[in-house]
Symmetry: C2
Subunit: 233 residues, 2 copies
DNA sequence: CTGCTGCATATGTATATACATAATATTAGA
DNA sequence: TCTAATATTATGTATATACATATGCAGCAG
């Protein structure tokens, strides 16, 4: 029985969560409809709606009109990773940030990059390789292709001072993109830049950002050995 | 000028997004308050509120009472990864799923596991190693420690038939947990189980789930070479 | 038995209103 | 001038009401 009044959507959400966790409502179960819950909790339907909708967003409930609300059978583990600007990430860990431009050239991208960025075969693009360091030690290689349409030739010289990673965030807007996590073995190049042994396992993030379909940039971040990315669920 | 009526929170959100993307409202800018926007869009403040709140949830806006709403300076790239049950993941890719139990033993966990799970030093725990296959080829090693408090001795025999990964989802509730992505080199054991070469780079997911602080299980998923996890931003 | 139609129903959303809360800005007091 | 009390303001939320929309299901026609 509930003698406390559920007068906030958060408290309703907590109660619903408690019932799920206590298995009073088991995965797959149909739970009472909003109107009934509102009456039971002594609040408005809108309040219950807010709570249930939020839980549905988080993947704990499945809701369908007319069919009602049920506890998700496979509570999809949704992990939300926050991907900060690299300088920030290093600073947050309490290390001193460093940046070095390794290479900047305007060349024909490899077909792989052309495919991802949906480039014409003949168009040159800006290729930039740089490295971010933490307390002087290599932290991550940033290997990036830029659509020249979005970054003028004059602007490119800025990358002697500031990393594309950081500059782009505040200067070029994007509407959508893809991100991919994977692992690779250090080749000769990576081993050299990251001062690690060849063959070591490296964590890799590939990211392409677009503005209304059109690719702005595609980057591959190759982290030094031992890097890991963590979050709560 | 807006001659179309913004009579749904989605349309308001789109308009706001458009203004951000067009840089009419630049990162750091203070945008008009809800009441003014409501008037401009010809809708109720609640509708504007829903739209802005949603954008704030996605990290595109920063909102503070009294201070107002501004465009996020560092639009934190938030990547949401959906981590399905392995069987489902393999089935979704159109492969035939297979499962094999490699080892099941009740032993003292290594200190590393004890620390993560906050176990006593003397308590034995259930250790399970199994492998998931796609079309007969090794897909991922599941190396798991179970808190015996949450899984009875009788229940353990079920793991001859069904993977802990799958069984736990529907049988043991959890309230929170941590997840970590990293990379490792294949040792002799991993190479054997995944039939790959020693030293190959493998993608690794570590996950610990808890119920009200208390650890239920801690698992390490070691994927076959080439595995990657992707999502949109 | 099959397929279509329409009704009942649960969720989804818009609105006006009212008050709560946080945090800035202002003012009064020492 | 500095500090503390107070007013102002933008967002946050609860409420009742109304209507929109999807869809399961029953009933009907073929």
């Amino acid at each position: 029985m509930t003698d406390t009044p559920f007068n906030s959507w958060q408290s309703v959400q907590e109660e619903v969560l408690a019932r799920i966790h206590s298995r009073q409502w088991k995965p797959g179960d149909l739970i009472p409809n909003e109107a009934d819950l509102a009456q039971e909790f002594g609040c408005a339907r809108a309040t219950v709606n807010r709570a249930l909708q939020n839980l549905a967003d988080e993947g704990l409930l499945d809701r369908r009109r007319k069919a009602g609300t049920r506890v998700a059978t496979h509570p999809v583990r949704k992990a939300t990773m926050y991907i900060p600007v690299i300088r920030q990430e290093i600073a947050d860990k309490g290390h001193e940030y460093g940046y070095e431009l390794i290479c900047s050239e305007r060349v024909l991208p490899p077909t792989e990059v052309c495919n991802i960025m949906e480039f014409g075969r003949r168009a040159r693009a800006q290729h930039i390789v740089c490295i971010h360091t933490a307390d002087g030690r290599p932290y991550v290689i940033e290997d990036r292709w830029l659509n020249p349409k979005w970054v003028s030739v004059e602007e490119i010289s800025i990358f002697n001072e500031i990393s594309p990673n950081e500059w782009l965030v505040t200067h070029v807007p994007f509407t959508e993109g893809e991100i991919m996590f994977s692992a690779m073995s250090a080749g000769k190049t990576e081993a050299g830049l990251l001062s690690c042994k060849e063959g070591e396992a490296l964590f890799v993030i590939n990211r392409t950002t677009r503005n209304k379909q059109e690719a702005i940039t595609s980057v591959r971040l190759i982290f030094a050995p031992g890097y890991r990315i963590e979050t709560g669920i």
